[in-house]
């Protein structure tokens, strides 16, 4: 089963990103009794980022299962539950903790279907959040999407807006494969119009968040907001940037990237994760391989410095891409 887009979006309402996620969870839990949520701090407290706030009251402690601190055990239990008929959504508080659960995600969830010759499905979602910007330092600020994209059998989703967050989480829950759903800690309190009621954004479709003709900025998650701001500033310089929000890294909407590049002939890839072996390398490689002759300039990446995330605020800012960095790179690229 793969979720298909809802045609006529209902009315919209302004929501915070975390609220939109909570809305998706609530609707899917109402729709399907097999959907349960597991994780730390998700019940009375409503989750470290208040995504599950209020769900305990509606669904009770058997469907909103607050767990002890046992990441491997929890994720593994979700794998087992998914294999046997539930559709668990696990909240892992910080993506940095995924190192503890990687075995169950990579050796089990991702591979079960293939290893068992198609006998199994693992319809689970692991929601977690990454990124710097709150002074949480090196063990609570990483961006690790590239790890998951390098695993055959996982899908990887990274919404940038409240509406996409809701629509993609709905699709992820309905998907029959394990989905790694990556939020950003600084997006939770961003606002946007979100369709009320059922809202599905199919996995695997990028979204051009701003059309432009001079260069393509390919990005995802929080950097979409930075890229949009940069694009705005760039108009002052007479530069018209297109902003392509990948939304889903796996499956990748390669055609969206390539067709944008074929139009603008220049590509700037922006992500918060460290540059070395970040997913931006993959995008740059694909563009270079498949749109070489369309490029009027080398592909270029703006990404995090190759360092753990420091604590002090001015240091933290200095190691992850800022709007200015995007503007500067875009200008150089177009020059």
């Amino acid at each position: 089963m793969q979720a298909t887009e809802t045609r006529a979006p209902a009315a919209t309402r302004e929501m915070f990103y975390n609220e939109a996620l909570g809305d998706a969870l609530r609707l899917e839990m109402e729709r399907d009794a097999r959907v349960i949520v597991m994780g730390e701090d998700i019940a009375e407290h409503g989750g470290a980022f208040q995504v599950t706030a209020g769900l305990l009251e509606t669904f009770g402690p058997t469907r909103i299962r607050q767990t002890p601190i046992s990441e491997l055990g929890i994720v593994g239990a979700a794998v087992g539950a998914a294999l046997t008929g539930l559709r668990p959504v696990v909240e892992l508080m910080y993506i940095d903790f995924s190192g503890l659960a990687m075995d169950q995600l990579v050796n089990q969830a991702a591979q079960n279907r293939f290893m068992f010759g198609g006998q199994a499905r693992v319809p689970m979602v692991m929601r977690t959040q990454g990124g710097a910007g709150r002074g949480n330092a090196a063990q609570h600020s990483k961006s690790l999407e590239a790890w998951f994209t390098h695993v055959a059998g996982l899908k990887v989703v990274m919404p940038a807006t409240p509406a996409d967050a809701k629509g993609l989480l709905t699709a992820a829950i309905r998907d029959d494969d394990p989905v790694i759903f990556l939020e950003h800690k600084l997006l939770y309190r961003t606002k946007g119009q979100v369709p009320t009621g059922e809202h599905v954004v199919p996995l695997g479709r990028a979204d051009v968040k701003r059309a432009g003709k001079d260069l393509s900025i390919v990005t995802w998650s929080r950097q979409v907001l930075f890229a949009l701001e940069a694009a705005k500033q760039l108009t002052n310089e007479g530069i018209d940037a297109e902003v392509v929000d990948l939304r889903t890294l796996v499956p990748l909407d390669k055609e969206a990237v390539l067709s944008s590049v074929r139009k603008t002939h220049r590509v700037l890839i922006v992500h918060e994760a460290i540059k070395r072996s970040g997913f931006g390398g993959e995008i740059a490689a694909i563009v270079a391989e498949e749109a070489f002759d369309d490029l009027d300039a080398p592909p270029r990446r703006v990404a995090g410095l190759e360092t753990p995330i420091p604590y002090a605020q001015h240091l933290e800012k200095s190691v992850i891409p800022q709007v200015d960095d995007i503007v500067k790179a875009a200008k150089e690229l177009v020059a």
Binding site: I36, L72, G73, G76, A81, Q104, A152
Partner: protein, 320 residues
């Protein structure tokens, strides 16, 4: 114990032993690729436990998983076909010995990650609890796996939530080349159950009756909603860790002597004959039956087409 039950147990054990012997031969002939791990010596455990399980109960198994699979009533032809990399194998040749699963019988798979199945069985038990059924999950794993963090986390979770899962630890004296006394600072592993507030039961894993009785109680308890338990079965690994293990770490007695000194099949036969549950002829007839069915199964496998080419993304993803 009644005759039918006794003979069923015997039959399963013999079927497992026969499978392991035959798989070894096939491996020696170069027909099996990769690695295989023989369950010989531990048959009473899988047989005694799985006798209480329905097809809708779940198990998770290990790299040494043929026995669990057979005890959970797998089709032997599909098992052999998998070892031979055929399209008719349980995993269409994609999994091999270390990943045989049979979801139609509730076997959630052998696992190449030591301890990997423990959290998964715990999750299956969560499904039963969540859906309000009386299904149970059994996780089989070795002594070595008991030192994995996943065991600790799962046991705590299961006990906290009173999940219907039975953790069956098969102490076969080794984790690869590491003898059990160098794995644990304690002798009686079942003591660990107390730390999770669950029953810890020790059984002689060579005696299928003892396994059967203890497992029966723990499984019934789980079905009644009384939560998880820890069953520790002590036995001996007859063969090397894997086919071809040079066994430098073992004495001659351990290599040769154990097979006869500690043999659950010999014990089962002696018990059945002694208790006059069946005659030697009846047992021999079972053995013969098993050979016959095994030969058919191998023939099926050998006559099957090779695994079909990998098809992407369909082999990897269910929704696409």
């Amino acid at each position: 114990m009644d005759k039918t039950t006794a003979l069923d147990l015997y039959r399963v054990m013999r079927r497992i032993r026969d499978f392991e012997e035959r798989a070894t031969v096939l491996f020696g002939e170069g027909k099996v690729w990769g690695t295989i791990h023989s369950y010989a010596g531990e048959e009473a455990i899988a047989a005694g436990v799985c006798a209480h399980l329905r097809d809708d109960d779940w198990i998770t198994s290990t790299h040494r998983g043929h026995g669990h699979c057979i005890a959970k009533r797998a089709d032997l032809g599909k098992m052999y076909a998998e070892l031979l990399g055929r399209e008719t194998g349980y995993c269409r040749g994609r999994g091999g010995s270390m990943h045989i699963a049979d979801t139609s019988k509730g076997n959630l798979g052998a696992n190449g990650i030591v301890g990997g199945g423990i959290p998964i069985a715990t999750g299956a038990a969560l499904t039963a609890k969540q859906l309000g059924t009386d299904q149970v999950a059994v996780s089989f794993f070795g002594d070595g796996a008991a030192n994995q963090g996943g065991f600790h986390e799962s046991a705590n979770l299961a006990a906290l939530w009173k999940l219907p899962v039975i953790y069956v630890c098969e102490v076969n004296q080794y984790a690869e080349s590491l003898p059990v006394e160098r794995e644990f600072p304690i002798k009686d592993l079942e003591r660990r159950a107390d730390g999770y507030g669950m029953p810890g039961v020790r059984v002689n894993g060579l005696d299928v009756r003892e396994v059967y009785d203890a497992a029966g109680e723990l499984i019934a308890r789980a079905r009644r909603g009384e939560g998880p338990s820890f069953l520790v079965a002590y036995a001996y690994r007859h063969e090397g860790h894997y086919y071809g293990d040079p066994r430098k770490y073992q004495t001659k007695d351990q290599i040769e002597g154990w097979k006869t000194k500690f043999d659950p099949l010999t014990e089962a036969r002696a018990w059945i004959l002694g208790a006059k549950l069946a005659s030697a002829a009846e047992l021999d007839a079972i053995d013969a039956d098993i050979v016959r069915e095994a030969k058919e199964a191998v023939a099926f496998a050998e006559g099957s087409p090779p695994a079909s080419p990998i098809s992407l993304p369909g082999d990897v993803y269910a929704s696409h």
